[in-house]
């Protein structure tokens, strides 16, 4: 795809994880540096010249698709967006997402996230059929969540999943963004508060903000998705005064 004209004397060594979920090791590869080179470029060079079977997932190479997620020097990042020159003289260690099982080399099995998305009910339930009449100021709030590229870096860094392994109890920040997107849609009529309180487990999040820090799309996951959802759960499950007011406001059943 691009010229691989190596600048004489300008080489970098990348330490790339090779192996699977059970065993593996870092392998050092020398890569000639090209201006503006990103980690994914370097991995492509390694594939073309040294290790044709080096497994790495990628698609658009423009940070739009969220495929090339991994960990560089222990930080969750997109390979296509991480430039080699940002590391100065530091070593570069390239690893797969390690919250999920490693299939091979830099590819992890992220199917768990898609399975949770299948369990997300109710889906979008609009109040009226389209065409909708909505103002820009009304949709701005959910458009932020629609920026999500499903790279799962937030899932990778979330300690509830990563360290405590509570995959059966908490769906992770990415699914919280997805739920927020439905929950706060100005046309939506359904409520997902009970789901959040039970299976999706928003109560397990302790708002440590790590997910927000790694989001390549700059979505304010903690502030705009998770905390507002926690407050909605509090409305329903932790606020006796609100519950009492709801009971008062609920229309009395009229006898026919």
């Amino acid at each position: 795809m691009m010229e691989r004209s190596a600048v004489p004397g300008k080489e970098r060594v990348l330490y790339v994880y090779r192996g699977d979920d059970y065993q593996g090791e870092e392998v050092a590869y020398r890569v000639p540096v090209v201006p503006g080179m990103v980690v994914l470029d370097a991995l492509h060079f390694i594939q073309a010249h040294e290790a044709p079977d080096l497994a790495v997932r990628w698609n658009c190479k423009a940070a739009h698709c969220g495929s090339c997620s991994g960990e560089i020097n222990g930080e969750p990042r997109l390979f296509c967006k991480t430039r080699l020159d940002a590391y100065g003289s530091l070593d570069i260690h390239v690893h797969p997402l390690r919250t999920f099982p490693i299939i091979r080399d830099l590819v992890s099995d992220v199917s768990w996230n898609y399975e949770r998305a299948e369990e997300l009910v109710p889906g979008f339930r609009p109040a009226e059929p389209p065409p909708f009449h909505l103002q820009q100021w009304e949709v701005d709030r959910v458009e932020e969540f629609h920026r999500c590229i499903e790279c799962f870096l937030c899932q990778d860094v979330c300690h509830v999943l990563r360290e405590h392994g509570l995959f059966g109890q908490y769906w992770g920040p990415q699914l919280m963004v997805r739920i927020a997107e439905l929950e706060m849609h100005p046309m939506d009529t359904a409520s997902r508060t009970d789901l959040l309180h039970s299976a999706a487990g928003v109560g397990l999040c302790n708002v440590t903000h790590c997910c927000t820090d790694v989001c390549p799309e700059g979505i304010e996951i903690t502030h705009d998705a998770i905390i507002p959802l926690k407050e909605r759960v509090a409305d329903q499950h932790y606020d006796p005064i609100a519950a009492w007011l709801r009971r008062l406001r609920r229309p009395q059943p009229t006898s026919p």
Partner: protein, 587 residues
């Protein structure tokens, strides 16, 4: 589980199999699922990663929210004119008539478009569209569209098989029998049995060195269809998007959305001249893509290019706040990858291979190929765009023809009485073929052959072509096809990209050959197809499409077929254009 030659395969069964999980594939799957049939979708990638996410500008639909004069008829005229009249009028008619309904449907499924002050879907101007027509969400419309369809198929419970690569289709004379595929994540083979198959595999931009396309765009589906007996059409029509990134080298070819020009960006050469005034003074930067792409190419050839061989695209005049709101992804892309802040500096851009107008020849109404039970929709199909695609029409294409293909495949599957059996020997033979590169001890590297192909295609079959160049390129591609038989891909079957590329190269080499042969055949210049030895449009060629059929020996054989006749009704809609051609002012 059935075993063959040490390799086992699993068998799965669906009423309809959809190959490809971009916009067209998912829309087809929704259509099938909604009538209650079982549908399986296979994809080379994960769900929601298809190349559709890269579509930035918007989806063209004549809603007339900002310009009340707009209508499906005007959209139809624009589409036909842009396609230089070698496109299918029926497809253009269906597209323009049905696009609005398809867009509103997305809204019902949860898509959120930018809004007008009246609360309707906002539409933006785009190259060669008469009116502001592209419904959009900032500059990530494709992602919104794909995500909406993804959520829809998830809700409908469509069976989805991620990271599965189909290598062969099986059929008999009454319909499809199924497809053989392997799963990247465990290297296992799967036989997906279905009487109807929808191909939605997208394009093959990866045959070119500079392309906006993702790794998936290798044309596997087109090659599968051809091998199964379908015809290919308009293969010479390759769209080069005028504005791809140029620098740094790693991002060369990466798309810079036409939305930049739609929102007011201007093109300047190295001397600071707004050169589009010399090529299309009326439409300037918003001229059709082939014109703008060639203009940039010619400026660079004439020595008026930027240091890295491109033109400057400048939108700084619109101000930082506007740019950040309307083009957030572009701003982020240039900041992160090129150290350029587009709110303060111009971008450096040059043409990049973007879209294949040609592909599998289909019936306009049903997307059916010549092979019973095989349907094709989206970029893989030919006919809608003719010699040049209008920006925004591809997303509309996905929705309109994805649905039509799904509907037709569902009807076919419901009516089919028997599912042809696939002989175990056929599967064993295919498994052996697929595994061959792994068992080859020594041979050329697929990566090397791929770059060689890309180099030849870019040099000989690129934005400007000539008879001798095409001939020379064809010779080289044919030689590469011989080399491809000996490709060696070390490693195992588990997520092995080298092996994968070796298999994809079969498709890319075939499609490279098809592009070069068709380009040689069309001895004129029309739309995206430009030949220095025949630089003018030829009226006679304006009535012909180049079609490639697989002959008995399996080789491609070319013929020309007349462009489908325009109905009197369509003729009436097109009338203002013919007046334009004869020198009178357009309406």
């Amino acid at each position: 589980m059935t075993a063959a030659g040490g390799q086992a395969w699993e068998t799965l069964r669906h009423d309809v199999l959809v190959i490809g999980a971009g916009g067209a594939g998912l829309r087809a799957a929704v259509a099938v699922s909604e009538v209650g049939l079982s549908v399986g979708v296979v994809s080379k990638s994960l769900l929601g990663k298809a190349h559709t996410v890269m579509a930035e500008g918007g989806v063209a639909a004549a809603l007339g929210h900002l310009d009340a004069e707009d209508s499906p008829d005007v959209h139809f005229r624009d589409t036909m004119k842009s396609g230089h009249f070698v496109n299918s009028a029926r497809m253009a008619e269906l597209l323009t008539a049905e696009a609005p309904e398809r867009v509103w449907e997305l809204e019902r499924w949860g898509a959120v478009f930018d809004r007008t002050p009246a609360g309707q879907i906002l539409q933006r101007a785009f190259g060669a569209h008469s009116y502001r027509r592209l419904c959009h969400v900032g500059d990530h419309t494709g992602k919104e569209l794909l995500r909406t369809l993804q959520n829809r198929v998830t809700q409908l419970g469509v069976a989805f098989y991620p990271e599965v690569i189909v290598t062969r289709l099986f059929r008999d004379d009454s319909g499809m029998a199924g497809a053989l595929a392997y799963r990247r994540v465990d290297g296992r083979f799967v036989l997906l049995r279905a009487p109807a198959i929808v191909l939605a595999t997208g394009g093959w931009g990866r045959v070119y060195a500079v392309t906006s396309n993702s790794w998936e765009s290798t044309g596997d589906g087109t090659a599968l269809a051809f091998a199964a007996g379908a015809d290919l059409m308009d293969m010479e029509m390759v769209q080069f998007h005028p504005t791809g990134m140029v620098w740094p080298p790693g991002v060369r070819g990466l798309l810079v959305t036409e939305g930049v020009r739609g929102e007011g960006g201007i093109l300047l050469n190295a001397q600071g001249r707004r050169f589009m005034a010399d090529y299309d003074p009326k439409r300037m930067e918003l001229s059709s893509r082939d014109v703008v792409a060639r203009a940039i190419y010619q400026e660079v050839q004439a020595g008026r290019g930027t240091p890295h061989g491109g033109a400057r695209l400048d939108i700084t005049a619109r101000g930082a706040a506007f740019i950040s709101r309307k083009l957030p992804s572009m701003r982020a892309q240039f900041l992160a990858l090129a150290d350029v802040d587009i709110t303060r500096e111009a971008m450096e851009v040059a043409p990049t291979c973007h879209y294949m107008m040609g592909g599998v020849r289909v019936d306009p109404d049903t997307c059916a190929t010549r092979v019973p039970g095989l349907f094709a929709a989206g970029e893989v199909a030919a006919g809608l765009h003719g010699a040049n695609r209008l920006g925004g029409n591809s997303l509309a294409d996905l929705l309109v023809f994805g649905k039509r293909a799904g509907d037709a495949a569902a009807r076919f599957a419901a009516a089919s009485v028997h599912l042809p059996v696939v002989a175990a020997s056929e599967i064993e033979e295919e498994v052996a073929r697929v595994l061959a590169p792994l068992r080859q001890p020594l041979g050329p590297s697929p990566y090397g052959l791929h770059s060689a192909l890309q180099e030849v295609m870019t040099r000989c079959g690129g934005i400007v072509r000539s008879g001798p160049g095409l001939q020379n390129g064809l010779q080289q591609v044919l030689e590469m096809q011989e080399r491809a038989a000996r490709l060696a891909a070390p490693g195992g079957t588990l997520y092995n990209p080298g092996w994968n590329l070796a298999l994809e190269l079969d498709a890319m080499l075939l499609l490279g050959e098809a592009i070069l042969r068709s380009a040689l055949e069309r001895t004129e210049s029309r739309g995206a197809h430009y030949r220095t030895d025949f630089p003018e449009e030829d009226a006679a060629w304006g009535k012909q499409n180049v079609v490639i059929t697989r002959d008995r020996g399996g080789s491609p054989s070319l013929r020309t077929v007349p462009v489908a006749a325009v109905t009197p009704q369509q003729q009436r809609v097109l009338a203002p254009l013919t007046q334009d051609v004869t020198g009178r002012a357009p309406s």
